[in-house]
Amino acid sequence: MSTQKGLLFDSTMCVGCGECYRACKTTNKLPETNSDPLKDHLSCSTYTVIEDHQGKYTRKLCMHCAEPTCASVCPVGALTKTSEGPVVYDENKCIGCRYCMQACPHSIPRYEWTSNNPRVRKCIMCHERVKAGMQTACAEACPAGATIFGNLDELKAEALKRIKESPSTYYPHVYGMKEGGGTNVLVLASTPFDQLGFVTNLPDEALPNFTKRALEKIPTVVSAGTVFLGGMYWLTKRKNEIAKENAQAKERKN
Amino acid sequence: MVALFVALTFIIFLVIDFFVLRSQKKVHPAFMPNSVFDKSSIYFPGKYLLSKGHIWLQALKNDTYKLGLDEFVVRAMNNIVINTIAEEGTKIKKGDVLFSGTAGGHPVAFYAPVGGTVSQINTNILNKNIEDIYNEDWGVILQVESQAKIQEIAFEAVKAKAWMQSEFKRLKDFLTIQTAEPELAGLTMADGGNIAEGAVSMLSDKVVAAFENDFLKQ
């Protein structure tokens, strides 16, 4: 049984009240950026927002990928997938290359552009609280039960159950089941997910595999390259020597 | 757009530089004549002999000599392509055509500096530019009629060099006569010192023929 925790957000139940938004700000001590949670957008001071897609509300936050792209690209390992599920960030390691921002398939990480010692900012699934056995602030705050916290396996089963029980309410797919290798944040909706602003052209394979395939070739390139270059050196050198000898021999004959 | 911007900036800098150089009366190396033929760089190998028709001779055995075109003609005309060589085994007289072909597309011929029997020809030089002037791209091996004649018609290396320098001056005069303003035609350099490589063959059939007459016949 995996210890991975996750979030299930059922957008059909979301009423757009903004409680999760406010709870997130309070827990993470983030400054206020907008009085209306529906008009805000992700930023270095906002880890989650509620978006209004023609009357359908949806949340945007880090998906806490099962095999996070951000963690795989970070050259110094400042981002890591914890055993509890959250993908967390260590600002003391970060060198600020922003590859994580470039690479994240959901375009989640934000940057403190105005700071002189900037940090990458994103939802960390209340890692401290989760470690202490609590649920995330947003799940706790949600009055409609749209965001729930729990064991990932159970949440997956729950999501599938909901679709099965009321197929007329749901679009028959749980976002996060397989997108980019799967995520710890699952989303249910009544419409296709691209209409809610989710990225739907992701491969099922975890993205880190795409670079892994290239990186795996390095040992081969290095060893084959060394042999090739060394061989070339020896061959061409020998050829030059022979040419020189021949030239000398000719000269002597003349 | 960024890509376009960067690419254009690069090009604009190059263009500005071109005009800056122009305003300073300098020429960007890309727009100089392909090579400059200056007299200090003419080379002639030590043990070779040189005839006045710009054919070099290298002694092989007593009366056999290897013959080829010298650097002066090759650089003055550039792009010399030989199409026909005197036939192997034939006897030729001094002044007979030894090689003929084109220089920059204009017909040209080179003449035997001395009489003799052609014992071997180098077909490798046919139909391509002469490049390795004093080695690979030799023309014929000639068994000369008389060893003594050689002394008359050919300079030794040291003298040959000095003589080529004087030919260089003669070439400048020649170009001035042929084209009233050789500088403007890009044949000679602004300071009047040097000649553009291949200057002769940049002109017409007529000029090449005149060059043949003035420089290659003796």
Binding site: S43, S72, V73, P75, V76, G77, A78, K93, C94, I95, G96, C97, R98, Y99, M101, A103, P105, S107, Y111, W113, T114, N116, N117, P118, V199, N201, P203, F210, T211, K212, R213, L215, V221, G225, L229, G230, M232, Y233 | M1, V2, A3, F5, V6, A7, F10, I11, D17, K26, H28, P29, A30, M32, P33, N34, S35, V36, D38, S41, M189, A190
Partner: protein
């Protein structure tokens, strides 16, 4: 000497202006953060500094490892006259790349973290190591010039003894990081325009770096001829031109077969900015230089060889910036365009590199190996520089 130094010329004025504004931007950058000088944003975190200073910079510095491979591994000794200046350019190029990185990194003081905090799954990690090692290798490759200048014969002997392994290491490291800069983008299959995204990106980056590197060797020789009154090694450069044409053709064939095999050719028919930029990149970076350089007559002409090399370089600039900026623009919808300060800092780095080159040539025997250069007419080019 002093008078010549003080005399104002057009380019000196421009250089001073660029450096002044660049220094001002540098001050802003390090006192008020990235937002004060760049147009980067959360939706467009990599801009011109990554796209031009790093991707193009590294690509254009490829000449260094190519010439080393030719002269020291393939033992084609005729090319030796080109070695030193190519290595010097590459070295200065990499130093500039590292400087640019210090500007771009949000926490530049942590740059050394890459040394001790390893994440071998990260392409960036690999690039960081290769660039760092390769810069040291380039320094070693160039060191004989410095040692010769100061007559440190003992050290010189040691360096010469290890020269073969160093050269091989240099070629390997270059192969790795030139291609890895392409691998950086493998991770964004869903964000990149399909005309550029391909699992073969590292291969394209590597092969095109080789083509461009050859173009750069030619271009540099013209720059040196222009500024230092030295001859052009035309016969050598025309052969290099042929090499470039071959590699450009190879990239062209692979890229188009890839597009055809993955069924992406129809994207070429969609009239949009990406398609135009792609077409421009292909025409300027591949078709034109190939058409010019494949003909012997053109390669032997000073003018055409120059145009060939310029179009190779422009093509490389277009390609690297298309991959890093144009191809991502559609997804991010950020319409990123660099700020004046970003441009100024970039230009400042380029200018400083050129000045460094100039002084290195003045005080070190960079062109010393060139006994065979044609003697150029001194009065035409120089003097009143």
């Amino acid at each position: 000497m002093k008078a010549a130094f003080l005399r104002l010329t057009f380019w000196k004025v421009i250089a001073v202006a660029i450096i002044t504004f660049g220094l001002y931007s540098t001050f802003l950058r390090f006192t008020q953060g990235l937002a004060s000088v760049t147009n980067l944003s959360d939706s467009f975190p990599w801009g011109m500094w990554i796209g031009f200073d790093i991707l193009c910079g590294v690509c254009l510095a490829a000449g260094g490892f190519l010439i080393c491979a030719i002269t020291h591994i393939f033992n084609i000794e005729e090319f030796k006259p080109l070695t030193r200046s190519a290595i010097l350019t590459a070295f200065l190029g990499y130093v500039m790349v590292v400087f640019a990185l210090l500007f771009d990194l949000g926490r530049p003081l942590n740059i050394w973290h890459a040394l001790i905090m390893w994440n071998p799954h990260s392409v960036m990690f690999e690039v960081a190591w290769c660039v760092m090692l390769y810069s040291s290798v380039l320094f070693l490759e160039f060191s004989p010039v410095i040692l010769e200048r100061f007559q440190l014969t003992r050290l010189l002997k040691i360096v010469k003894r290890v020269s073969l392994p160093i050269m091989i290491l240099g070629v390997l490291l270059s192969t790795l990081h030139q291609s890895s800069l392409g691998s950086l983008f493998l991770i964004v299959p869903a964000k990149m325009h399909p005309l550029w995204y391909s699992p073969l990106l590292p291969v394209y980056f590597y092969l095109s770096a080789i083509g461009t590197g050859f173009g750069m060797i030619i271009f540099e020789s013209y720059l040196s001829a222009r500024s230092f009154n030295k001859g052009l090694e035309m016969p050598l450069l025309s052969r290099i031109g042929l090499f470039a044409a071959i590699f450009v053709a190879a990239v062209f064939v692979i890229r188009f077969s890839d597009l055809a095999l993955t069924g992406k050719l129809h994207y070429l028919l969609i009239p949009c900015q990406e398609t135009y930029m792609f077409a421009l990149e292909i025409v300027i970076g591949m078709i034109i230089p190939f058409a010019i350089l494949i003909q012997k007559r053109n390669r032997q002409s000073r003018k055409w060889l120059y145009f060939g090399s310029v179009s190779l370089i422009v093509g490389a600039l277009l390609n690297r910036l298309n991959v890093s900026i144009t191809a991502l623009n559609g997804f991010s919808k950020a319409n990123y365009f660099p700020s004046v300060n970003e441009i100024a800092i970039t230009m400042m780095l380029v200018v400083i590199g050129m000045i460094a080159f100039k002084y290195a040539v003045q005080y070190l025997p960079v062109f010393a190996e060139e006994e065979h250069t044609e003697v150029l007419d001194t009065n035409v080019v120089v003097e009143n520089e």
